[in-house]
Symmetry: C2
């Protein structure tokens, strides 16, 4: 195979994480080692920016700024939830695809890296397929990213370790608070965390337990239908024993009929999912109303997925390595794959990157196995703990200025547009 | 004056902070230097535990555990919201006071330190007065503590610097998230923070601003009545300019008629205040409903007041110093004072401790001066920033184990009870 020479384009998609920028840093730093890669470009706001020909020159960024991306949260290139939907909107999708390849051609892009979750890997797969169909020589590699940890085939997703570390720390700290306030009247706190379909994030707060009686005392997972009576009985018994109870709930908790516990069907997001809000607030009302136990709620929301100030060093290193591996794979002629993480040893924890065909990833959701959860459904068990514990090891070093974190700020030098406006 | 010799009792009261244990460490470490102080005891759950004769022996704790209290959040001795209320319940209050002095006598306690906010300083003042009335030789010194920063006469309260640092960091991180997700459709996030009466906590998130356009873009303070039309116009103009908007709201935001924006009058706390919840959630509904801008909410709740993993080193040092100063004052014969922090130099920031009569503190609430807030009421100005900035400097060093913070765990060796049950 003749060596492919051209420009590289990297973009980010979907919800941010604390370490998705580390993957971009990995892509850029690795790309600079390969002579076949000329321009190194970033797409602004994912596919949406590429469609609008909004590209930035990442070679124009200082080396130290690229390195600082490794401790900078959220998507420094910008992200989007835009979907090229061949099923529901085939005409628009076909038009989008034409436009994407016009942009690729106009900017001589032959290496494309897309960091994202299920939907984004689907987009990457479609671009890979289109490139073959169109005879356009292109190497497309997906970079895994999602706090939700719901991608299949990879041991875990970059982004998950950091949200797990931050949330488990927060649960530990909240437990010191609630327990120190607890008198014989009892006290309860419900902490709502992200996770619409899979409960990996909620489950990971189990890592806060070090000794018997430690919080969290109940974890409500989207995988286990909510049973109010069993839940209240459990809260009651925990409060009777410890005087306090810390409950963690994944936002996507389901009722027994399969509908979402806290879905507000009047509000839909860009993918048509109902906006979820207030699972903790509703649970707090139930506990207070039925048990008369003082109950407060915490909703970490966006705070949890961008908490770089206490990110997992393991996670950040893996995220960067996934970016590097993607570039290596592409320069070796691979296309149509997602980088995955393979656990090669449990203790001490060792891992490596490998590749999985994109078609195996797209739109497949990976749930917590039932046998990783206690029989009563309220707590992940030792299998889960063994799996998750290594992923939160180590603290990212974040420089500070005036007592607050100092994050990378990209210049975002835009490439001149050569095409007309997107119609 | 003949030297007073006896045992020391320290207790914690009210809502926890990230550094209230640092004050206890300061008390214990300083007490060990004074021969006149024999036993060093801790009251469990504040006044409530003392009434129940639940005392622990702090000399039985290892030195390194006491030192570790400086990075351990919440009230390690336990806390309470119990109030000795001579106004509303004079008979019960008189009975409580009798019982307290029985406990003091039974355990030869002549040095009493109470770390807390307004209500707790009031309790300390009453105990000081009663001791004089009863001719019981007792040195009572209050130690300031409150994330709310609403105590008068002290430059600021230990606990405030840490919540300010954590919340400002969280706002910075949320801003990276929301801004990276923002497309032309606009995006908004409302972050709810604590602060029922005074808006110091909400205001302190202004420290997250480093460059023009930085979040937070709007801060809603309890001191400034909420004007929905002005608020929506401001959100709209920020989104039009930046494509996103981060709003911070203090939970105690007031309507123009003086009632609380989000008060649930069906639920009262132990002091008879209505339980507040959901200011952010309600604001998010208003923004989405009126402007059709995608809006998410975050409610930090308990997470913010016990976030030792990112506490302010300045705050922790001051909290410890307040505990030390309290013991020194008592051994010098002082009683009926609260330790306060005096700012002796603005730049570089310098401070010292001093004393203020407890009667000046009790039940007085300190608000943000109006001229520290912008004319439109949506942002603290440079005067506030100059005041608050030094308080968040430095990061407490928190050891970790398995990727999570390692906090002090007290043995809590209980003193034998010598009295009968409290009637």
């Amino acid at each position: 195979m003749a060596e492919l020479i051209g420009n590289l384009l990297v973009a980010q998609s979907g919800g941010p994480t604390a370490v998705i920028n580390a993957s971009v840093a990995g892509v850029v730093q690795e790309a600079k080692k390969h002579a076949c890669i000329k321009g190194i470009y970033g797409g602004m706001n994912g596919i949406l920016g590429i469609l609008n020909e909004q590209l930035m020159d990442l070679r124009a960024e200082k080396d130290e700024v690229i390195e600082a991306l490794k401790h900078t949260p959220a998507a420094a290139l910008g992200t989007c939830r835009y979907k090229i939907d061949f099923k529901k909107k085939p005409e628009k999708a076909a038009k989008d695809m034409d436009r994407l390849f016009q942009v690729f051609e106009a900017h001589d892009i032959h290496f494309f890296f897309y960091a994202g979750g299920n939907d984004s890997q689907d987009t990457a797969d479609k671009i890979h397929g289109e490139a073959i169909k169109r005879g356009y020589e292109m190497r497309v590699i997906g970079v895994p990213k999602t706090i939700d940890n719901d991608l299949p085939h990879t041991d875990h997703c970059p982004g998950f370790g950091s949200v797990a570390k931050y949330n488990a720390t927060t649960v530990m700290e909240i437990a010191t608070d609630v327990s120190s306030m607890a008198t014989d009247d009892g006290a309860c706190c419900v902490v709502e965390v992200m996770g619409r379909g899979a409960g990996w994030i909620a489950a990971s707060t189990v890592l806060a337990q070090r000794a018997p009686g430690d919080a969290p005392h109940i974890i409500l997972l989207p995988e286990i239908p909510f049973n109010e009576a069993a839940f209240l009985a459990k809260v009651k018994s925990v409060v009777a024993k410890l005087r306090y109870c810390v409950v963690v709930v994944g936002e996507g908790l389901k009722k027994e009929d399969g509908t979402e516990f806290s879905a507000d069907t009047t509000r839909l997001d860009a993918f048509g999912h109902p906006v979820l809000s207030g699972a903790a607030e509703r649970l707090a009302e139930i506990v207070y109303g039925k048990l008369n136990t003082k109950t407060r709620s915490v909703k970490l929301g966006y705070a949890q997925r961008c908490a770089a100030h206490y990110a997992s060093a393991t996670d950040a290193a893996e995220a960067a390595a996934c970016g590097e591996a993607a570039v290596r794979a592409a320069t070796e002629g691979k296309s149509g794959y997602m980088v995955k993480i393979v656990r090669t040893q449990q203790s001490p924890y060792k891992w490596k990157t490998d590749l999985q065909p994109l078609k195996d990833i797209a739109n497949v959701e990976h749930f917590i196995p039932r046998d990783w959860i206690s029989a009563d459904g309220f707590m992940p068990n030792e299998k889960f703990v063994d799996y998750a514990r290594p992923l939160i090891e180590g603290e990212t070093k974040v420089p500070t200025e005036g007592g607050l974190p100092k994050f990378a700020v990209l210049e975002k030098k835009q490439l001149p547009k050569t095409l007309g406006k997107r119609s």
